[in-house]
Symmetry: C2
Subunit: 172 residues, 2 copies
């Protein structure tokens, strides 16, 4: 099982750290994937090294893509490679989880139209304008897309992710 966590400067520490260790606990090999394979810094200055530089074809390599929030999503959506990788992952039925401001990346990937999604409340207008079926819930799932409003939504997002894994073809 392989998971990618997308990383750019100004990511929210909590929204990267919890899934990073949690997915490893489940037995995933976890790669940090950025627009470039270099060091990025969180909002508070936590440095992490992206192992892998994003490529659209990498959508095939990962069973799960987790997108942390903070202001990293505003930077991630500027990368055509990141955006195309996320679009393909959604299209191919991979599990894609976006927390807090990260649904911005889903908007740019063009995958939220008509789908039940949530996100941090400041981006609800963006989600509605993108044609999403916005739900004011802490965490929600629609098909293979999991979204959540912020750090406190993550435990529920993780439960949804595990449920999806159970019903998907990810090898255990």
């Amino acid at each position: 099982m392989r998971a990618a966590i997308l990383v750019e400067d100004l990511f929210d520490e909590r929204e990267l750290i919890y899934p990073f260790y949690r997915l490893k606990e489940m037995g995933f090999r976890v790669d940090l994937v950025g627009p470039e394979a270099k060091t990025y810094r969180s909002k508070l200055g936590l440095e992490v090294k992206a192992d892998v530089s994003a490529e659209p074809e990498l959508a095939e390599a990962y069973d799960v893509i987790w997108i942390p929030g903070g202001y990293a999503p505003d930077r991630l959506r500027r990368s055509k490679k990141i955006v195309e990788m996320v679009r393909r992952a959604v299209e191919r039925g991979k599990i894609v989880a976006a927390v807090c401001h990260a649904p911005w990346v889903l908007i740019s990937a063009g995958v939220v139209k008509g789908r039940r999604v949530t996100g941090f409340h400041s981006i609800w207008d963006d989600l509605r304008n993108a044609g999403a079926n916005l739900v004011e819930e802490e965490a929600t799932v629609d098909g293979n897309i999991i979204t959540g409003t912020g750090p406190d939504a993550m435990p529920e997002m993780m439960r949804l992710l595990i449920e999806l894994m159970g019903s998907s073809s990810i090898p255990k």
Copy 2:
């Protein structure tokens, strides 16, 4: 199920964030417990508010006590109430997990003598001098005490914790 995560200034962000959300995911009510009920700052300046001020009797209230590392353990061990709370928790068979530099608190609580423990390598001499049966493993368990060398040990520590929960009397 109730869990306490001990907090003081200069805690390692990763070592508090992962168990905080992970234990919530399991259904625990998680309290941050400090020498005082006030705001503490991580090594990088992440602010968290301790909900609860430590008291020795609180050892009874919690099924699990998790102690993050960083330099917070050097500060936690200065608090008689914290140290006594940890000592009683170990004595009463509660699950106590300490990662990285956090076994310093176990040393001050007088609970490592003759027990299999690990920790960050810089404190191995302290653990040996305290009479611990130091094991150079990433994560280890002895009875109800779980220890680990650092952040990367946490997924394995969590697996050990879940195993212990399965064999203990914590209500599910």
